[in-house]
């Protein structure tokens, strides 16, 4: 399974997670885990997703997330899970 970590940061408002989840559903991307916090009106969210059934390239995924980010006023990034494991686990 090819796991990707999606991070989102921005000003909180109604429908951010719904919009992001819809994008994933439309693109055959399965959400494995979701964590989020809100503080002083801002949202930090992280999703671990399975991109095995996604047919586009990494560039396409990032472009798609960029336009979703523009819709909801947040910065969204997708990165391969391994980089987080390498940096934060011995």
């Amino acid at each position: 399974m090819s796991k990707t970590i999606v991070t989102l940061v921005g000003k909180d408002r109604v429908g951010i997670i719904a919009t992001v989840c819809n994008f994933f559903a439309e693109n055959n991307i399965n959400i494995l885990d979701l964590k989020q916090t809100t503080s002083q009106g801002y949202i930090n969210m992280m999703m671990i997703v399975d991109t095995d059934l996604y047919e586009g390239s990494v560039e396409n995924l990032n472009k798609g997330l960029e336009s979703v980010g523009a819709q909801v006023g947040c910065i969204i990034k997708a990165q391969h899970e391994e980089i987080f494991d390498m940096m934060h686990r011995i």
Partner: protein, 454 residues
Amino acid sequence: MVELDEAFETVNMVSHENLDVRTITMGISLLDCIDPNLDRLCDKIYRKITESAKDLVKVGDDIGNEYGVPVINKRISITPAALIGGAACKTPEDFVKIAQTLDAAAKEVGVNFIGGYSALVQKGMTNSDRLLIESIPQALAETERVCSSISLGSTRTGINMDAVRLMGEIIIKTAEATKEQDSLGCAKLVVFCNPPDDNPFMAGAFHGVTEADRVINVGVSGPGVVKHELEKIHGQSFEVLCETIKRTAFKVTRVGQLFAKEASSRLGVPFGIVDLSLAPTPAIGDSIADIIQEMGMERAGAPGTTAALAILNDQVKKGGVMASSYVGGLSGAFIPVTEDKAMAEAAEVGALTLEKLEAMTCVCSVGLDMIAIPGSTPATTISGIIADEMAIGMVNQKTTAVRLIPVIGKDVGDFAQFGGLLGEAKIMPVNKFGCGDFVNRGGRIPAPIHSFKN
């Protein structure tokens, strides 16, 4: 499972703190290209480089996209050209043809620098070594991406003072040959004591003869991330300071290790080493001087600077060594002046002098790097500065280097601009007292006593 705060730490390091991978450098052996016919030699060199590195830039960019951490430079290092050209080159101009071939190959595969227009003359010079050295001014003036490095000394052999004297003259001639661009040629020329065979950083990268046919070496991220982490523990004890640098160096090096393994497997080229060096750029916040200032110096160069740099260098190694299966190259902190904005500013206000920089090179890797000096500086004075730096490397069993830029037509206080990653700075004063009688003695400085370990 990755936690929320860990994920955002990584994301912030990239977006706000300049976390990146500085360079993926492919070392390519050209020993199998050697041919007594110059045209055939150049043809073989071009083909070997363009075939070996045809996917280097694409793979570097792909990995950067997938992991969300940019790979800033993709580069190539080759076997020292003096060894490759010896059979075919009868004049310095013949060697220039090899330089032009390297430049064309670098442009074809899209790398921004190719290193290894080099000669290793720490003990003596062959005819081929001398021809290559004599060709350097023309070669660097007529090419864009070729970098040249000359090894002038080592702990095992001592210092070749004939070559030191010659390089003083060659540096001036290279400056003259590129005087229209603030003597830019000298930014692509470095002299070494104890150079490593697997250095991925320019201008000193070459692919040593003890290396495999091809190899992938990676240089980790710059000082920006370390500086930001230190801001969070401002004013705390040395223990906290050292732990923070070590922990950050570990994380940064893990990224380098991951990218090196990934590039190696995608390119089908063995993984060589990760170089832990923190290499600054002129970007704001990506500066070794900023780290020194964050540690408590009013300006880099103030008393305490050498100790601060020693701490930084040692803690980076302690954190980095554990993060990578093979550490190599230069692996220390670079202290260039023009390439580091805060360093250039410290020099400009008089906090940082050439002599202080020399002292700093005793505790970090490399040496007097990217320092613009008056174009009128005598060649023997440049040779004297080189000899001092080579002696520091020889006696302390470490790598030292000199990359000085005598800017023709400009003097102390004038501004020299090299553009892009090479940066800009005011010209620094050089000690006016001569050393010609010392430099012109001729011969070699013998190896130091502690080199006799057998």
